[in-house]
């Protein structure tokens, strides 16, 4: 036994000589001759350090941050822990949580029979809240210390003291672990032998959630504390711990902390005895065989896309094959910052979300991870989306200016949501997430149409588009043509033009023998109906189905083209004091041309009449010129000159009396045609 001890001492000493040259003592202000550096812990990101400055009279918990140049800032007292109670107390073993927003530590009041219990203090809204004791299931009547929360937040490691006769001169502890299930910490279990085999404490589980570093005294108490390394197989079964012999030497090494990359270890080293005892903090590059498995560190900020303000959001790390949420992380409310680790050899789906906001998904594979990787990813979520709604006529695809109504699906009540018309038939609707809506389009003369839009689930794009087609209502329209004298039905071809689209929709629709026809017309549309039957005067009229009270039938009385038939050409008019035709005359002139072409057997007299204003001679001349003007137009459009005679009658043949009224004057200013001859075929 003695031989063994001697040999071990020799071995350790030798290795210690070689490797201790690589241990770097942290400079001031971390280490100082004015105090002992106790229980140091470096955060996962390697940028924060927490430890206890122990002097003769006090133990102060301090925090230091890493400067840009790699040096450490002057430590600041963590007052929320140092001065939170008036009763004197001792603190030990402070550590950060993985995201640095919580400090766990153990505390014992300076009272009789008091024991160390584990406390935590959380950083909320950028400020430290008051410390609180953690779960009763962890803190017992014994001393609990050396708390440590696994990076996934699912396992809580700590040390609980017990009597060990083999290590009487040490305050002995065992390492325990409690698992979180359904939000509650379970009864802690001790790590099995040989993990716990001496006095074991300061458990630190690395970012890979498998590699455990801890401090232990085992084999021979004279060798003091050393830092050990063990790996978890599964659940609570472990591969036997190995001392990190490249650190271990005659001094006490304890309180290891291993930041993210897993390549460096920080620890406390105590040497000397009694008054000459020093405790300092060191750092060391861990040999590869002791390094935890490589991980990927994701970090960044979640913010609101609308105003860039930081958001408190949840990040679920999911196994894509099973959809099981492996663990979740919540961002800081004030800064929106997040941080988590992914282990090597898997694939993950990361889902970032917040109620009432969009989701953000991305996949990540770590199967071929060769080294520690940091990924910065800032993510923006948004609370509303833009729905581009296009409303069309489902027959002719014309975009429609409809009224858009938005209803809450649950309450069926109309929502006061702004609908912005961008173009004819196109609307932008801003809809808050987290609700289901009914979107309805209404337009007169169309059947209403609606659809449901469920925004309660996962939304990943801030804009999408929907088309909504409205069905035009159809009206059964009846046209009857009959002879104005005999009342008999007239067979003829009816031309129906949609005046909105200028489309001849019925070109050659024939009435039946009774002169009737039924057709379906689009509601809310204006049509021109024209008939030019052989042997009859032409007829055209406008049917306005925009008016809800419009008739749905028309009874046309056609005048047979006989000698002495007169037809008023009401839409033929002229510029003032001129024989120049107005533009508005041309439609009627086209009808007249068609009449003459369809009925070459008739000869007409085109007559122009004036009112009684001005001299008779002037009126006569003017009317003659006007009649001539119409005649010239007809000839220029291939009408046989033989068919038309033009006459100006001036004011001599008024049709409406009394002639002095303005109304009758307007009516007397007219152009007419009279059939003066019908050649029998």
């Amino acid at each position: 036994m003695i031989r063994l001890i001697l040999l071990k001492l020799l071995l350790v000493f030798s290795i210690g000589i070689i490797y201790s040259q690589n241990q770097i003592k942290l400079p001031s202000p971390i280490n100082s001759t004015n105090f002992k550096t106790i229980s140091p812990y470096v955060s996962y990101d390697g940028n924060k350090l927490i430890y206890i400055q122990k002097t003769k009279n006090s133990d102060i918990l301090v925090e230091s941050t890493r400067n840009v140049d790699g040096t450490w800032s002057n430590p600041i007292s963590v007052d929320v822990v140092n001065v939170f109670d008036s009763i004197k107390y001792f603190i030990q073993s402070p550590v950060y949580s993985q995201d640095g927003n919580e400090i766990f530590f153990s505390l014992k009041y300076d009272k009789k029979d008091a024991n160390f219990d584990i406390y935590s203090v959380k950083r909320l809204n950028g400020k430290w809240a008051d410390p609180e004791k953690i779960s009763k299931i962890i803190n017992s009547s014994k001393n609990e210390t050396d708390p440590f929360l696994s990076p996934d937040g699912k396992f809580f490691y700590f040390a609980r003291n017990y009597e060990n006769n083999d290590f009487k001169k040490f305050d002995c502890y065992k390492i325990f672990v409690s698992e979180k299930k359904e939000g509650e910490w379970q009864k802690p279990v001790s790590l099995p032998f040989p993990v716990n085999s001496g006095c074991d404490r300061t458990p630190r589980i690395a970012a890979d959630n498998k590699t455990l570093f801890f401090t232990s005294v085992r084999d021979d108490a004279n060798l003091g504390y050393d830092i050990y390394f063990a790996k978890k197989i599964t659940k609570n079964s472990w591969i036997s711990p190995i001392p990190i012999d490249t650190i271990s030497n005659m001094a006490d090494e304890s309180f290891p902390s291993i930041p993210l990359s897993g390549e460096k270890i920080y620890f406390q080293k105590g040497s000397g005895k009694g008054k000459k005892r020093t405790e300092s903090m060191f750092e060391f590059n861990i040999p590869t065989q002791y390094q935890p498995e490589k991980t990927v560190h994701f970090y960044g900020i979640i913010s609101d896309l609308n105003d860039n303000s930081p958001l408190s959001a949840t990040i679920d790390i999911v196994d894509p094959n099973t959809s099981i949420v492996l663990f979740s992380v919540v961002t800081d409310e004030i800064s929106g910052e997040y941080s988590f680790f992914l282990q090597k050899g898997k694939q993950y789906r990361i889902d970032v979300f917040r109620e009432g906001f969009s989701h953000y998904f991305f996949n990540y594979r770590t199967k071929r991870l060769k080294k520690f990787t940091e990924v910065k990813k800032d993510i923006q979520l948004y609370p509303e989306v833009n729905l581009v709604l296009n409303v069309y006529d489902n027959e002719i695809y014309e975009p429609l200016s409809a009224e858009i109504l938005v209803f809450d699906f649950e309450t069926k009540k109309r929502k006061n949501i702004k609908v912005k018309k961008t173009n004819k038939g196109s609307f932008n609707i801003i809809l808050p997430l987290g609700k289901k809506y009914i979107i309805e389009a209404e337009k007169s003369h169309y059947e209403d149409n609606k659809f449901e839009l469920d925004l309660r689930g996962v939304v990943q794009f801030s804009e999408f588009e929907r088309d909504l087609e409205l069905q035009i209502k159809k009206i059964d329209y009846e046209i009857s043509l009959s002879d104005s004298e005999t009342g008999e039905g007239v067979e003829a071809t009816v031309e129906i033009t949609n005046l909105s689209t200028n489309e001849k929709i019925f070109k050659t629709v024939k009435t039946d023998k009774n002169g009737k026809i039924k057709i379906k017309l689009r509601d809310g549309t204006r049509y021109e109906i024209s008939v030019t039957p052989k042997g009859y005067a032409f007829y055209n009229t406008t049917v306005d189905l925009v008016d809800e009270n419009a008739e749905h039938s028309i009874d046309v009385k056609l005048d047979a083209l006989k000698k002495a038939t007169k037809i008023a050409l009401n839409d033929i008019n002229f510029e003032f004091n001129s024989a120049d035709l107005n533009k508005s005359s041309f439609d009627e002139l086209k009808m007249l041309i068609k009449l003459l072409q369809t009925n070459p057997q008739i000869k007409i007299e085109l007559s122009a009449h004036t009112d009684d204003v001005g001299s008779a001679a002037y009126n006569l001349k003017l009317s003659e010129k006007r009649a001539m003007s119409v005649k010239e137009y007809l000839f220029n459009n291939d009408i046989n000159p033989e068919q038309v005679v033009s006459m100006g009658y001036g004011e001599s043949k008024p049709a409406f009396y009394p002639v002095e009224t303005e109304e009758n004057r307007a009516k007397n200013r007219r152009v007419e045609l009279e059939i003066i001859e019908v050649i029998e075929e």
Partner: protein
């Protein structure tokens, strides 16, 4: 170096003579007790540690195998497949190692095999029993492994394939912000993605069925999933989430139907649209090509792009480049059709009046403006992303993006040329109308008369010649002309004549002749029944003017002395109102040489003398036309200078040269000058005719040339001056 040697030596010493560094370690009985407690975690850890110390002890492996076997089946193969696999392997490994080491197993160690239940109820069992047990368990774990692998592999393949679908679909949604862009996309990339999506979805369902078959053969408690398809309704909202394949009912986005619907829309609606596009494009281009054969038509039906077609295209392609192209082509075609109207045919100069031509030119320019504007809109919209939507069409018809840009630029040349041609035609008509209606000569008895406008140079005229000063054509094509006859004895006698045809003079009436004075009919205006002329008698002492009216047969209807002793420069008869406007200016027959600057405007109402009036304004100006507009009278002059309504002197921009003029418009209303507007230009403008296009638009035609009195043929070479003004005398840019 010496230090190192020492250390290495010490290493050997320690490892040769030293005990395990583990120190105090439980013996196997203790470990077996832990095994019997059922704490597998602890037992497994201890066994592993013991195995390192005593690697030949068979029971270590046996016990490790038992625990591994339990764990292998304990771990959920779906959610903890890694561990299940690991412990299946460990089970096989440890059983095989146990079997290997059992050969050396001591009898006393049999007690450590009891917990396996090898020989039920019997305490004593043989080595062979253990071996059989091991073989049985090994076989059992292999069966388990095989079935689990089949189930999990198919499960993973199905879920992997489905996750791939989601990824591909997300990729498509990211690249194509609207589904309509996919309808119109026809490139390898999107086609590949759709194909991959389809294949991945097929794989999802195929592997799921295999997974179900495997589960049926080897059921796992709690797992009997079924899937249900969910329709993708809203693009960019639906179809983007993964699903939990562990749920009893798995909801799968129906990518297959989505792709089918997409293809249907592409193959039906889009394809139809493309057919229509090609058809209409061909129609337009064919018609344009036909119009290039230089035929002219009396009537040409306008081409109209159907609204329904436009709507159909824009439904899938909002703010479509294609529609912009078509609207421009439509405007271009209709412009070209209109251009080919016979009125624009330079050989039909006599068939259409100048007024008709002016209206036509105005309409043509409006159509051109519209086409230009549409061309600009089209040009500004040409982008590669737009061209990709109907890539095949644009490539085949226009050679892609650059081709479209070139096409747009070429239109400028097209329209410029057409505008130039149209202006040439109206210029010819203008000359015909104002200066020379025929190029052929009329015969009167044996005399030959060339009918053209000409200010007289009495000294230059030959003896026994008829010299035309002015002419007018009626709507019935009767030509009236007037001037003077220089007798054989050098006397100057006024005459007036008319002609129906192109060669002979019907009537010629000689007017006054005087020994001491020259009588000329400088001006004439005709109407349907006859004509008016002013016989101006010029002597050294005075100028007399007599207004004379003849009917179509040459009979004298009226003679009226006019109370003005200035040279008449312009006259216009209003046959509807039976009134006359005559403008007098100066006493020198050559207006250019005239020093006087008083313009007299005489309005004569034949019906009611009380309406007759005279007004004047100060200007060195040469009146070229008068128009009645909405009861106002507009007088158009070529001016050198004038006094405006504020009595201020105004000069033309060409300086103070009597032959370099700009255009002045004087508005007379209620017998007074209401407004005067000068249209200034640095170039000299020779205004020639003003035409009323409509009640709010007047076209001023002329030449960009100096003012001349004679040899108007020179004007044929000058550029046309063509401007438009509204009823407020504001100039309208065309």
């Amino acid at each position: 170096m010496k230090q190192l040697k020492v250390i290495i030596s010490l290493f050997f010493v320690i490892f040769i003579f030293g005990e395990s560094l583990a120190g105090k370690f439980p013996d196997y009985d203790d470990i077996y007790d832990v095994i019997l407690t059922g704490d597998k975690d602890k037992a497994y850890t201890l066994l592993l540690a013991y195995q390192k110390r005593k690697p030949d002890f068979a029971n270590t492996y046996f016990q490790l195998a038992l625990i591994a076997e339990d764990w292998a089946k304990d771990f959920n193969p779906f959610t903890e497949y890694y561990y299940a696999k690991q412990f299946i392997y460990n089970t096989k490994l440890y059983y095989s190692l146990a079997k290997l080491k059992l050969a050396d197993e001591k009898k006393k160690n049999r007690k450590y095999y009891i917990n396996a239940g090898i020989a039920k109820g019997e305490r004593k069992f043989k080595l062979e029993d253990i071996l059989v047990f091991i073989d049985t368990q090994t076989e059992s774990i292999k069966v388990y492994e095989k079935n689990i692998n089949l189930i999990i592999n198919n499960y993973n393949k199905s879920s992997d394939a489905y996750n791939k679908c989601v990824d591909i679909f997300m990729n498509i949604n990211t690249e194509y912000s609207k589904i309509k862009n996919i309808y119109l996309a026809d490139n390898e990339d999107i086609n590949n993605k759709l194909k991959q999506l389809e294949q991945s979805f097929d794989s999802t369902l195929v592997y799921f069925d295999l997974f179900k078959s495997a589960l049926k053969k080897y059921p796992l408690e709690g797992y009997d999933q079924e899937y249900k398809l969910k329709q993708i309704v809203t693009y960019r909202l639906d179809g983007l989430t993964n699903t939990n394949f562990l749920n009893k009912q798995i909801i799968l986005w129906d990518y297959k139907t989505w792709i089918e619907d997409l293809k249907k829309t592409k193959n039906e609606r889009i394809k139809n649209n493309v057919s229509d596009i090609v058809r209409i494009e061909n129609q337009i281009q064919n018609e344009i090509k036909q119009l290039e054969t230089e035929r002219y038509f009396e009537k040409n039906k306008e081409f109209k792009l159907q609204d329904k077609f436009v709507y159909k295209i824009e439904k899938f392609d909002n703010n479509s480049l294609l529609i912009k192209l078509f609207k421009f082509n439509e405007a271009k075609l209709n412009y070209f059709k209109f251009f080919r109207n016979s009125i624009n045919n330079p050989i039909t100069l006599n068939k259409f009046s100048l007024e008709k031509n002016a209206t036509y030119l105005h309409n043509l320019l409006e159509k051109q403006q519209k086409a230009d504007s549409l061309n600009n809109i089209f040009n500004n919209s040409i982008k590669a992303s737009e061209v990709r939507k109907y890539n095949k069409f644009y490539m085949s018809k226009y050679k892609g993006v650059q081709g479209l840009k070139d096409y747009s630029i070429r239109q400028d040349i097209f329209f410029k040329q057409k505008k130039k041609d149209a202006k040439e035609t109206i210029k010819k008509r203008l000359f015909n109308t104002v200066f020379q209606p025929y190029s052929n000569v009329l015969t009167y008895k044996t005399e030959q008369i060339i009918v053209k406008k000409n200010f007289p140079d009495l000294s230059l005229s030959g003896n026994d010649t008829y010299n035309v000063c002015d002419f007018k054509k009626t709507k019935t094509n009767k030509l009236w002309f007037s001037g003077y006859y220089k007798t054989k004895s050098n006397k100057i006698q006024s005459f007036i004549a008319n002609s129906d045809g192109l060669y002979e003079v019907n009537i010629l009436k000689l007017g006054n002749i005087s020994e001491k004075s020259n009588c000329v009919n400088l001006l004439i205006d005709a109407y349907s029944e006859g004509a008016y002329t002013i016989e101006t008698e010029i002597s050294e002492e005075e100028i007399k003017n007599v207004l004379i009216e003849y009917d179509n047969k040459g009979k004298l209807i009226m003679k009226k002395e006019l109370p003005f002793s200035k040279i008449p420069r312009f006259m216009a008869y209003d046959d509807i109102n039976n009134s006359m406007i005559i403008i007098f200016y100066g006493t020198n027959i050559n207006a250019l040489a005239e020093a006087d600057n008083e313009q007299l405007i005489y309005y004569l109402d034949f019906e009611n003398n009380t309406n007759t009036y005279t007004i004047s304004f100060t200007a060195k100006a040469y009146v070229f036309d008068i128009i009645k507009l909405n009861n106002n009278i507009l007088v158009f002059s070529n001016f050198v200078n004038y006094k405006d309504t504020n009595n201020k002197n105004q000069l033309s921009d060409t300086g103070n040269f009597s032959n370099k003029t700009n255009v002045l418009i004087t508005l007379i209303s209620n017998r007074e000058i209401k407004k005067q507007v000068a249209i200034k230009n640095k170039k000299s403008i020779f205004g020639t005719k003003a035409i009323k296009i409509n009640s709010n638009l007047i076209n001023i035609l002329g030449y960009k040339a100096d003012y001349i009195n004679r040899k108007f043929e020179r004007l044929k070479k000058e550029k046309l001056y063509n401007i438009y003004i509204d009823s407020n005398l504001g100039q309208i840019k065309k």
